[in-house]
Subunit: 200 residues, 2 copies
């Protein structure tokens, strides 16, 4: 930490106040999985459903974030870690504002995800989207696996860069066997159980 002469300022509005206003706790649904595992698609569908169910919800997407905050990072192991560190810090800020934030990053390294889990605390819930590499590569929605196999992209997760699967994610979804609708239903049930504050 280079910053010094810094003291944290207490917010005027407590987290409890924010939760009561929203009718649910804030926190982070951290999606992790290979390219093509359905992270962004499922995140956007879940966001729509939760918003319709009166949740304060927002999605942080790897693709979107890399255009802005993390636009000065590449795909080396060091840059990937910094990418996830920043994403985790932003997710934590959203959770502090009382929102339920869905994040959709490949986030291939256990150490990086563990650091975010420790930062966010109880509000962190890991969701592993795992249709298997073969399915992701067959889908190849952006044609990236093809380029990676051809050597046109280096450091591509699952091909030329490792993916470290979570051992004990809070939720595991086989997006090869389940439809998007089924996966959304599974996650909505989980969110209602874990985040909703009952009136009584």
């Amino acid at each position: 930490m280079k910053s010094s002469n810094i003291k944290a300022v207490t917010h005027g509005v407590s987290l409890q106040d924010r939760w009561q206003k929203h009718g649910h706790k804030g926190g982070v649904l951290w999606f992790t999985g290979l390219s093509g595992s359905g992270k962004s698609t499922l995140a956007m569908a879940l966001e729509s459903t939760l918003f319709a169910n009166k949740f304060e919800v927002f999605t942080l997407d790897g693709d979107n974030l890399r255009h802005g905050l993390n636009g000065n990072l590449g795909f080396s192991p060091q840059d990937r870690s910094e990418n996830i560190r920043r994403a985790g810090e932003v997710a934590s800020l959203f959770a502090q504002s009382g929102l339920l934030v869905i994040t959709a990053f490949i986030s291939p390294y256990v150490a990086d995800r563990t650091r975010v889990r420790e930062l966010v605390g109880d509000g962190f819930h890991e969701v592993h989207l795992d249709p298997g590499l073969a399915t992701c590569e067959a889908r190849d929605p952006k044609g990236l696996y093809k380029k990676a196999r051809a050597g046109e992209i280096s450091d591509f997760t699952g091909v030329s860069s490792p993916y470290e699967a979570p051992e004990r994610p809070e939720v595991r979804i086989d997006t090869a066997r389940q439809s998007i609708e089924q996966s959304v239903a599974q996650l909505v049930a989980y969110v209602e159980k874990v985040f909703r504050i009952s009136d009584i």
Copy 2:
């Protein structure tokens, strides 16, 4: 931009939907001013009042952010610019989630603030807290001016590092002449006028 093979994903919930739900537009109230100008104090007081008035509001504070997202940055001109670039990107993400975000950063350089203004667009409103350097130095709530004058802190804005005042901020507040309550009232009136969506 180092990132490639990236395409932006469309959110499932529109900004208009979020604004309608909240009863107000999202955006950024960007406080700028010297250390001791009252940014954090006023931000927290304003946040409390707006929350009580049913706004979805959150404060990003220079002190808080430097513990986390920007903890690996110092106070060189280059690091200050990167500090504000990241803060601006995060503020923009909050605005995209429909929140009204108050930011409290010294943000001494015109170029950095202009970049955030261009990023956020119409929702960006600059608030210059300007009690004058003499008042800030007399207050010296953290004892930093004293240390800076003694040469114990380098690159200290207003003493050994420049502060470039905004020429045309949306709001200018003389926090030496006004009480905190008066300044909050001035800003609440501005926010109600600019951000509130009327029912009719």
